[in-house]
Every structure is written in C-alpha cells, then in structure tokens.
Amino acid sequence: MTGFRKACTLAAAALLSLTLLAGTALAEKVNLTFYFPVSVGGPITKIVEGMTEQFMKEHPDIQVTPVYAGIYRETLTKALTALRGGEPPHVAVLLSTDMYTLIDEDAVVAYDDILKPEEMGFTKAYFPGFMRNSQTGGKTWGIPFQRSTIVMYWNKEAFKAAGLDPEKGPANWNELVEMGKKLTMRDASGKVTQWGVAIPTTGYAYWMFQALAIQNGVELMNAEGTRTYFDAPKAIEALQFLVDLAYRHEVSPKGTIDWATTPRDFFERKTAIMWTTTGNLTNVRTNAPFPFGVGMLPASARPGSPTGGGNFYIFKKATPAERKAAVTFVQWMTSAERAAQWGIDTGYVAVRPDAWETPAMKDYVAKFPVAAVARDQLAHAVPELSTHDNQRVTKALDDAIQAAVTGSKKPADALKDAQKEAERILRRYGK
C-alpha cells in the first residue's frame, strides 16, 4: 500500500514538473497548429513537413505543427468541427472559394485586422488574379498558396497522325470542334477508339463549365458572392456548346466524363485533348508516354479560365501573439523562393510574379517551357465560382451540368432550375 502511495506521489510530482516546464516553454514559444489538405499526388505531406521544419529553424520562437487533414472538403470539415469543439487550428489551407463560408461561420480573421495598414503592402506581391477571390468587403481574408487554373493538354502524336500541326492547340471553339472531328478515330465497326476532346463533368463540373461561360463572355456571380447568373443567355449557350461537343459534333464521349480518370484516358490515348487543372502538370509530365502540348483554353468571345485552389486562412480564436506568428508563417511559406519551389514540386502556379524571376524557377521554365502557360493565362483569369453557402450553390450548378450532359434536361431548363435553387439559398445574404 505504501509502495503504491509512493508511486502515486512520484507520478504526481513528475506530472507537475512536466506541466511547469511546458508552461515556461509556452511563455517563450508560440505554438501554431497548421491544417493542410493534399489534393495532388506525390509525397506532399513530406514536402510540407520539410518546409515547416525549415521555417522553425529560421524562427526558433515559433513552433508549427503541420496536420494533414485529408482532401479539401475534409480539411474544411475538420477545421469547422475543431472550431465548434473550441480548438480550431491557428492557420489552415482551405479553398479560396470557402472564403464566404468561413466569414459567415465567424471562423477566420482578416489580415487587415492583424497587421497595421502600412504592413498590408505585402498583398500586392501576389498575382492580382489570385487576390480577387482572396479579398472581399475591402479586406484580405486569404493569401494564395496552392493555386491553379484550367489548361488544355494535347497529345502531339495524335495531332501528327491526324495531319494537324502538333505545336498548335485549338485557339477558339470552332477550331476545337474542327480539330476534334479530325482527332476522333473510329475502328472498322464504327466504335470510337480515340475521342477528340474530354472536358470532365464530375468532381469539378462547375469549374469546367465556368471556363466555358467566361470564354463566352459572362461571369457566373457578383463580387459580393450574393448573386449568381447561371441562366444568363451566354451561360446557357456555353452549356449548349458543352452538350453539342458530345451529341452534335460527336467529338467527345456522351454522358458524364469522370474527373479522376480523365488524365489516365489521356495517357492511354483514349482522348487526344483534355482540359484539366495545371495541378496535373507534374503528373502528365511523368506519366504521358508521348510528347504533349500545353496551351491556354480556346476562346469564344474572349480567352479565359477561372482560378482555383487553396489559400492560407488565419483563425479568429488565436491570440494576438499567435495571429502575428501565423502571419509570419504565411508570409514565409508564400515568399518568392518558397512559392517557386512549391510550384516546381507540385505543378501549382507559383503565386507571385517575383517567384518566376528566381533562378530555380527560371531554370525550370527553360527546361520545361509549358510550365509558364498557366502563369500567362492568369492575365485572362476570373475568380472561381464562390458565393455564400458555397457548397450548396455549387452543388445546384453541378447537378444542372450533369443533367444536361446526360441528356435528362435541356441546358436552358437545367440552368434555370439551378439559378432558382441558388436564388433560394442566397436570399438571406441578399442585403
């Protein structure tokens, strides 16, 4: 019995001294928890952990714990659950389109509320195309980190075989259809062995459709995220074009085209042209068994693509010292050298012009010139569809697009229904 009591006292004493030690360490060191998603292949968790270690070496007063939190949607779920449980992360990478949702949840704090106005100049260092859906109401809520746009990849061998110039992708919608017809190959029985073009309609259907709408000269939402314009005549025309690719021109598979398997179809020559994220560049580069071209998306009224990807958000619950440390961390992670390295490692677009001037990036672009396509397309980029209650609004649009491409609704009807649904969801954010 006494032995047991002695052990207890000892354990208690040990615990006490341990907490005391931790207490003093806390006073000097700021601890940050950092949630990040992984949505491209490769050893991303190791790269991120390596980056934070480097950061801690340079900032011994800040301790960062990187926490891998699944894909984007799960990272958001985890962060919001932790927030309601009272222990949100201090900083997290979440979709730029979740900005309104995070503000509505009162989860995040604007950078302007942490820094003095004269310190806010650093936001000018990023591409304005990426900042457009990182800011609202005159404040900056997100700092671009892993950002992308949609680009077009084509198989140069298939172009040569079809008698097309392999160095030139289609520059506009008409050329896309014309080239698509030449690229669509059928065997003796009339079964298609190679499609002309694949524009995925699952996973990120709204994103692909938004690209078409932008090219046709219409934006799908207002800057405040309170109104959508899904049923604008130009938007309906854009969806009609997407449907026509499969049903009228027969250059694209009928029905939905799966996002996740489109790159694989491209590698296996089942499609000669594909539209997908620049985040796939490294994947295509390592896996395509043929020379490939990368180009901006074809134009209709104008060239254009929505931006995509994730931003750094800082959570409100953090103390002033933690917020300051979080900003230091974000600025370090998105500095020119880091942005360049991150872009090279993953295929994302380096988020600031000066990253493209670093020796590492210059070297990379010299060896692999198509890496710069996405950057050049930024001049024509439009913010990704993002509204209040974003997930529900996006889902309404996704459903409409899928109804149209499977032929169960006419494009005009589908988009009108989606617009009605979006108006219903957004009504309470109207004024």
Binding site: T45, G70, I71, R84
Partner: protein, 277 residues
C-alpha cells in the same frame, strides 16, 4: 449417405442455386481481383489486361513510402483491440442487466439505448469532439475509440442472446452457490460465444475501416489509423493513380483479409449458430 438433407435442392433448382452462388461470388471478388491485378503491374496496364504484362512491386514501394504505414498499422490494431475489449465488457454487463433484472425505468432506458441505433454516428461528430476535447484526450487512440464503446448494437444483440438462455441453467448455478458475476461468466458468456464472435467480426471490420471520425479527432502519426494514411492517395484534384491506390488498399486491408480467411470456418459457423437460434 443414407440421410438426405432437406435443405439440399435437386435437379434444376440445384443448378440454379449453384449458378447464382457463383455469380454472386464472382461479382463480390471482382474488385479484389482487379486490385490484385493493378497493384502488381505497372500503371500502363491498369486497364489493359494482357498476360504479357510485366510484374512489379514498385507500386507497393511507392505506397509504403508515401505514409508511415507501419505505425498506422500498429495504431489500427491497438484501436480495434481497445474498442472491442471496451465493447465486450460494457455490452455484456449492460445486456445482462437488461436481460435478467427488473428495475424501475428499465423500459425507458432500453428505449434510449435502442435510439442510439437510429442515429448516424456522423451527426454526432461535433458533439463527440467537444466531449473528447473536454476530457482532454484529443489526438489519441482512446479518443477514436471512446464514443463507440457503449455500443447499442452490442447491447441489443447480447440481450436477445441472454434472454434466450433457459432460466433453469441460471437457477442451477445459483443453487450450486455461484455469485451473480460467476453465473454471468460461467453460464451466459460461454453460451453466447457464437454471438460474441459474430459481433467481434462486425465491430473489428467497422473500426478498421472507419475514416471520418479518426481523421477529425487525431492530428499526428502517433494515433492515426490506416484509413487516414490511405486517403493521401485519393488526391482528387489530380485524378487517381489506380496502381498505387490498389497497392495501398491491399496493404492496409491485407491483415484483415488474411485473418478472415484463416478463421473463415469459425466465423461462418458462428454466424449460422447465432442466426438459427
């Protein structure tokens, strides 16, 4: 064989039975066969099936390197052991009380337990997180397992089993001078063995595969289970590399599959016995 089993079908019925069984078996096995094919071949062959395709272990190597799977495996084994032992103890005691004792409020209490069956665990994620945070066990194997220990399904299943055990056995043991817990341990638990086995199988496979809750409640490699590690490969933005995903899936579900194959006979028998009663 002089005796014929009345369950044995004959003639056309027998052919149909066998054909249906084979169809179902093949359908069930197809994903697994595909996984084995894809995992052992380079990714070019993930949708092309030629016998000449070269065999490779590169996919396993790539998958193994992408996450600390050895650690995750240990965590998962710890987790299912912890959850199962917690469940067996709590459910046995609760089921015994519900089956053999009359106490005021029994009906209401049992209804409350049954209500737990009707609520999806996902709905409770936020509330459970808050509780774990309040107890201060976030980011531990205990936090993943704790909300599942008082399993309503287990209590219900065992209560039904205990109820079906004749009272005479109970009374005989009491006459011999056995205490309540001795009766439970010596009479009820041995007779419920098939049910315990069936329940353990369901519980282990559920917790082996559970994903969302472990992801949310854990932060570090020290406590995360296999499923969370596996998620690294379904990077949807870039499309899916089937070869690596199937290799990783085989790796993570392998121990469970082997375990099932080894004990298959016992499992099937226990299900039969538990079901026929």
């Amino acid at each position: 064989m002089s005796q014929t089993n009345i369950y044995d079908s004959r003639g056309l019925a027998r052919v149909l039975d066998t054909a249906a069984a084979w169809t179902l078996a093949v359908l069930w096995a197809l994903p697994l066969l595909y996984a084995v094919w894809t995992a052992f071949h380079p990714s070019e062959f993930s949708t092309r099936f030629t016998l000449a395709a070269p065999l490779t272990l590169d996919n396993f190597r790539a998958a193994w390197d992408a996450a600390p799977f050895a650690r995750y495996l240990v965590n998962t084994v710890l987790l299912v052991t912890l959850v199962l032992s917690g469940q067996l103890v709590l459910c046995t005691l609760a089921a015994y009380a519900f089956a053999k004792y009359d106490f005021p409020g029994k009906g209401i209490l049992f209804a409350l337990v049954l209500m737990q069956l009707m609520i999806m665990p996902d709905v409770l994620v936020v509330e459970n997180y808050r509780t774990m945070s309040a107890i201060g066990v976030l980011d531990s194997t205990l936090a993943i397992g704790l909300p599942y220990m008082a399993s309503a399904f287990g209590i219900f299943l065992l209560r039904q089993t205990f109820k079906s055990i004749p009272k005479e056995l109970d009374e005989a043991a009491a006459v011999e001078g056995a205490s309540t817990l001795q009766i439970l341990w010596k009479v009820y638990v041995p007779l419920g063995k098939p049910v315990y086995l069936a329940y353990a199988l369901v519980s282990v496979s559920y917790h082996w595969n559970n994903f969302l809750w472990p992801l949310i409640v854990t932060n570090t490699t020290n406590s995360r289970p296999l499923t969370v590690g596996l998620q690294v490969f379904s990077s949807t933005e870039q499309g899916v590399d089937w070869s690596i995903i199937t290799a990783a899936t085989l790796m993570t579900s392998g121990p469970l599959l082997i375990g099932f194959l080894l004990f298959q006979r016992q499992f099937v028998q226990s299900f039969m016995r538990a079901g026929i009663k």
